[in-house]
Symmetry: C2
Subunit: 343 residues, 2 copies
DNA sequence: CACGCCCGTGAGAGCGCTCTCACGAAATCC
DNA sequence: GGATTTCGTGAGAGCGCTCTCACGGGCGTG
């Protein structure tokens, strides 16, 4: 069976549609772009001709003259493959895509696991191939967003940039409020010695959730004890070992706020292995509300991030910026405590 | 101002590079495309000029004349938002993207949750905006892949199409072998009455895993008993209720193969609620090897799908097809039993 | 030495679209 | 009623690139 290549019948062009409608290419273009100053007769004729010929505008041709690509890059600057198994990113992608698509733009998926690939992307973006960038999982003080902005490519970040650069536009969960609410819940449930397994302190999420923990204690007039604070790495294993360390240093711990659900799961395991029980001896709160949080025994109380909102908002802000508007640069979305059985 | 024909903020064009290298546009183009018949001198000059000017070719212009978009659509034809929280898709996307990017193509992310949007995509693809399509989560006997092929847009599916159309190119996990291996493991561990919670029978994954179950029993000379087979819907709740039904109909069940991990989790819950214990009274095997499988108590024995391989292979096949080759249409990748504590 | 043959090169024609500009007709003004 | 302003329209010039084609010079052949 020979491949039926059909170079002969090309998709209909604007020329064809215009001819069929009995107008000029210019008028047909005006109608199809929704421009003003077209008579109703012409408009109808063009629309009908377009429908009949199943006309689809050639984006390349359009892009060539308008100098806009009508596409947005969704850039995941992540080297750890593990994170690609996080539902978080995909849910964010889905939500962002819905907005982008609704605006008639394309969503181009890109990764930049290494500095070299980030540079390659920068080069690519400099070529005018994208109108804007949604940047995820920025590491440390990477200058990529600044470079992109300098090139005139509007960029919106997920998460507050560690550099604190106020010129960058970002959307983040309210990690401080989340950490605070989680800790307050534990205090209100009667805990005397609330520990925390903080996230990595080179990430703003890690920093902010710890800040929330501190604020909660201070709000209740308590001191923040060094022995009750230790940082993990957001993984199950990290949560497990950190919890062991904490319990060894402070056996009287009766509650712990883990800065991620995975760490909370590890912590619960360590708590049970130490002969204590959750929540009776030690209450646990996580952060993220992964699907796993519902599967643990007991089910995990946690702080839910508004993932879909995050993606949607990022896309909306970026679309505004692409349109030349100047929306607020910092957007922080509220989180919500989900009470289950571990507290 | 008015006589400044080329504002500074425009990216350099081939014209500029060529002039700088002291050659014609045609020669510069040849070098940059890697075409033959260019002298070494000219090649070096052009490459240097391109580097100096940070030249990035304008894809739109190229696309306009080559009639290729150099981009691939990653189309998720899924209406259920729930599935966007599945790590499965994102891992697949990641693997596929790596291949596509390595080939120098763009990956355009698209969803088509409704028939109307599928049609819109078809229209879009007909306009020559993508060179090929990776199609995920095709439902039932949707004709979308056939339509795309007819339009001359090569398409590679994830999962065997239910229609069985041999002209379609797909990549699938070996669901039959997986179901068989899972069931055989249970039999070998001494189970007398092996039940199965099958997947939806309008999906080939559901059908095939059930077939594997049947083959295993037959291989051991056992009859397939009606009361030991029931279909669920791949969810935790579905697994839970189906297991209850099975236990009620056949209290002597001592092992169960669930066609998905989520159903296995539901089943384990139902088993424990009935006063039985896993794995002592009833052994359980799942399918997928979600991250959750490691978190259950006891940890779930399951069948791991080669997700990254799936994505990689899909992309490779599609790239071959885009290049005009005609690779095999059916690719089935091996799965692997992961033994944990539930058996 | 004459003949053809590559082989590297440049000129130039578009690809399908948008956008500026000019033009005639209709509408409005003084 | 003549002058001016709309308003809808079409002609035509590119956008930046690829690709065909023609050309000139170096080379092998007879």
């Amino acid at each position: 069976m020979a491949q039926d290549r059909r170079p002969a019948d090309r998709p209909p062009t604007l020329e064809v549609v215009a001819a069929r409608a009995g107008v000029s290419r210019a008028t047909a273009s005006r109608v199809l772009r929704g421009a003003a100053n077209v008579s109703e007769d012409a408009r109808q004729a063009v629309l009908e001709a377009a429908r009949e010929t199943a006309y689809a505008p050639n984006r390349a041709a359009r892009s060539l003259v308008t100098r806009r690509s009508d596409s947005i890059a969704f850039l995941v600057a992540e080297s750890e493959v593990r994170l690609f198994t996080e539902p978080y990113f995909f849910a964010l992608l889905h939500a962002a895509h819905a907005q982008i698509a609704a605006a008639g733009l394309q969503l181009i998926f890109v990764t930049a696991p290494t500095a070299a690939e980030a540079e390659h992307f920068e080069h690519y973006a400099a070529g005018g191939h994208v109108d804007g960038v949604l940047l995820l999982s920025l590491h440390g003080d990477d200058r990529l967003p600044q470079s992109l902005e300098r090139l005139g490519v509007p960029t919106v970040l997920n998460g507050r940039p560690l550099s604190g650069d106020p010129s960058l536009c970002y959307v983040d969960s309210d990690n401080v409020a989340g950490g605070r609410a989680a800790t307050e819940l534990l205090i209100q449930r009667g805990a005397k010695h609330v520990a925390t397994i903080a996230g990595p302190q080179d990430m703003c999420a890690g920093q902010d959730r710890l800040t929330g923990y501190r604020l909660a204690l201070q709000g209740f007039g308590r001191r923040v004890s060094r022995r009750l604070v230790a940082a993990g790495d957001f993984t199950v294993e990290g949560g497990h070992s950190t919890m062991r360390t904490l319990l060894a240093a402070a056996p009287d711990i009766d509650a712990v706020f883990a800065a991620s659900d995975l760490m909370a799961i590890g912590a619960m395991r360590a708590i049970e292995q130490s002969g204590r029980r959750v929540p009776d001896d030690v209450a646990v709160v996580g952060f993220d509300d992964l699907r796993e949080a519902e599967l643990t025994v007991p089910q995990l109380t946690t702080v839910r991030q508004p993932v879909a909102d995050l993606g949607r908002t990022m896309a909306q802000l970026l679309l505004q910026r692409v349109a030349g508007e100047d929306p607020p640069h910092a957007t922080v979305l509220p989180v919500e405590v989900v009470k289950r059985d571990s507290t």
